[in-house]
């Protein structure tokens, strides 16, 4: 029993610690990539090429004074960042990093991830309400409405992929792409999914909650030090999570691009990581390249463009599968 517990704890640490390191270096990558896109140097003082910058930032956030607003609702105020961070971490329990390399091989893995990501709204809305500040509240309302709207199209796109797979298990989804990645037959859906992911994680060009010109910094204005750090970590962990999801649903997870023996010598988790980095780079690229959407345009895009389009794709793909009798059993 003790051994069992210890092994589980070791597995969890084996997922969480690299995740946190990945988050730290994602921030550095973001700053560096955006700097080169804007012909700047980016952080280059701490360590070689600024390689220790995220650690310095983390240390700074840790030793800063946590400020509690006097009019804030203390319990909810403290619970919100914890909840956000927790939800960003527990979604990783069902992600397969390789054949059988998964903490918990749930039968309903995809649904689990969807449920956890839909719970992510609560961290935001609790933070906005409990801060008792107009900026935070407006930011939270915007953020929540946006996340809820884009979740619908996300769900429909996931359903389309699931129809092609015939299982909710993430390992099965990856193994179904052994012949051809879903990015090939379902390429438009990959585009839709990636854009919805941008909106779901509140990233540019849909980072309206943080529109610094209108709402100082969105739902987390009142947070300082570790509370802010937890929101930050949660947001970036969610970004990585969504990229991994794109890879698993469309780019064949841990599978190498061609079915060659040489390519199978590289471990599957490496392939997963490489493909994830591709999407994370896209995230940053989009942020550097596009201006912010206006809020009504954002809502229009979500409800009037993405929702009908993804719904039509569900019907189309299901219809094709039924018509040619190639539904997965």
């Amino acid at each position: 029993m003790l051994f069992f517990l210890l092994s589980i704890i070791a597995k969890i640490l084996g997922i969480v610690v690299p995740l946190l390191v990945a988050v730290a270096y994602l921030t550095l990558a973001e700053r560096k990539v955006m700097a080169s896109m804007q012909r700047r140097k980016g952080p280059n003082v701490v360590g070689f090429f600024g390689i220790l910058q995220p650690l310095a930032d983390g240390l700074k956030l840790l030793i800063k004074e946590p400020v509690l607003p006097s009019s804030a609702n203390t319990v909810v105020f403290l619970a919100a960042p914890v909840l956000t961070f927790l939800l960003a971490l527990i979604a990783w329990a069902v992600i397969p990093f390789g054949e059988g390399m998964v903490l918990c091989d749930l039968d309903v893995g995809m649904l689990y991830i969807f449920a956890v990501s839909s719970l992510g709204v609560y961290g935001v809305i609790m933070a906005g309400w409990s801060s008792n500040s107009k900026y935070a509240f407006l930011g939270a309302l915007r953020s929540t409405a946006q996340m809820v709207s884009y979740e619908v199209s996300l769900g429909l796109i996931i359903i389309t992929v699931l129809v092609c797979v015939g299982s909710l298990n993430l390992s099965d989804i990856v193994l179904a792409q052994q012949d051809v990645w879903f990015a090939v037959p379902l390429f438009p859906l990959l585009l839709l999914f990636f854009i919805s992911c941008l909106a779901e994680t509140n990233r540019a060009p849909f980072d309206l909650p943080e529109a610094e010109a209108e709402l100082v910094a969105g739902y987390n204005v009142e947070y300082s030090s570790m509370g802010f750090a937890l929101f930050f970590l949660g947001e970036y962990a969610n970004m990585i999570m969504m990229s991994v999801l794109c890879v698993i649903l469309f780019l064949g997870g841990w599978l190498p691009p061609l079915s060659l023996t040489i390519l199978y010598w590289i471990p599957g988790s490496m392939w997963l990581g490489l493909k994830t980095i591709l999407f994370l780079f896209l995230y940053i690229w989009v942020r550097a390249a596009f201006p912010r959407y206006r809020y009504d345009q954002l809502m229009r895009l979500g409800w009037k463009v993405f929702l009908p389009l993804s719904l039509a794709w569900v019907l189309f793909v299901a219809g094709v599968l039924v018509a040619f009798d190639i539904l997965p059993s």
Binding site: M1, F4, D107, V108, L111, Y112, L119, Y122, Q297
Partner: protein, 278 residues
């Protein structure tokens, strides 16, 4: 293996108690909380615990759908509305007992329904404890109940008829011995004894069974036997959705709107011409 299985069962029952207890507690807090936002948050906690209970009976699909639909969609809307209403706390505190008659009546009705259902055995119960060892919680519960009731009885006897105390105590002793005997025989009658018969051909039932998931099973049932109900439910949802849209969609005449389609289809050369002519 045996040990792990026993631990698992024990853990399951502990988890059941935790989930059910938390659900009840937060259910009470939903109606007791002063702040309506707290009420909604406790309601969410109830939903989460209920989906935990669903997981314990292996209904994984339902548990997840419960989370997605109730917590991810409906409760968010509740929370939205409650947060925006800006209710004064003093208004709510006026009289808590005002709703007691009606609320109590409904509560009693539901209780009666549940009691009726308990009699009818709606779900066929599968007994897990075939390996003959009483789960720890049940064991404790049994003794706690016995000692509590007997203590009450003895106290009652002490007060009302003190002269019969010795006979009552001896009676209590025999009862306790009977209980101990029952528990002991129950735990000694293990599955191991049942396997000791020789020359019996066993059918390996797991090999003859087809393995499916909850989702498959549900799909097979919902899209065949219950198709009519399924379609009816979706039509009802559609109608309510259309109703909500009709109620809220009145286009103001003086409101300027962005016509995206018009913007995109506008011909560049003609636009320039228009300005030139002016």
């Amino acid at each position: 293996m045996e040990c792990v299985k026993k631990n698992l069962l024990c853990m399951m029952s502990v988890l059941f108690n935790v989930f059910a207890g938390l659900a009840l507690l937060s259910g009470i807090m939903v109606i007791r909380a002063k702040n309506p936002v707290y009420s909604v948050l406790f309601l969410i906690l109830v939903f989460c615990n209920a989906s935990g209970l669903l997981l314990l009976i292996n209904l994984d699909f339902f548990a997840m759908v419960f989370l997605v639909v109730y917590v991810g969609a409906i409760a968010v809307l509740f929370l939205f509305v409650v947060m925006m209403l800006n209710i004064k706390l003093a208004e709510i505190n006026d009289n808590i007992l005002r709703y007691l008659p009606i609320g109590g009546m409904f509560g009693l009705l539901f209780l009666a329904e549940i009691l009726l259902l308990l009699e009818q055995d709606l779900v066929p119960v599968v007994l897990y404890h075939t390996n003959g060892i009483l789960p720890f919680m049940e064991y404790i519960m049994m003794f706690v109940t016995f000692f509590a009731w007997s203590a009450v009885c003895v106290l009652w006897v002490c007060v009302s008829q003190p002269w019969t105390l010795p006979s009552v105590l001896s009676q209590w002793g025999t009862w306790r011995n009977q209980l101990m005997y029952k528990v002991n025989t129950y735990s000694s009658l293990t599955m191991h004894d049942a396997y000791n018969y020789e020359n019996v051909d066993y059918v390996l039932w797991p090999h003859t069974m087809e393995q499916t998931t909850t989702v498959h099973t549900l799909g097979h049932v919902v899209y065949t036997y219950y198709m009519v109900f399924f379609i009816m439910a979706s039509v009802i949802l559609l109608i309510s959705m259309i109703g909500a849209i009709v109620l809220t969609m009145h286009k103001g005449v003086f409101v300027k709107r962005q016509e995206v389609f018009e913007q995109n289809t506008r011909d560049f050369s003609k636009t320039l011409q228009k300005i030139k002519n002016m």
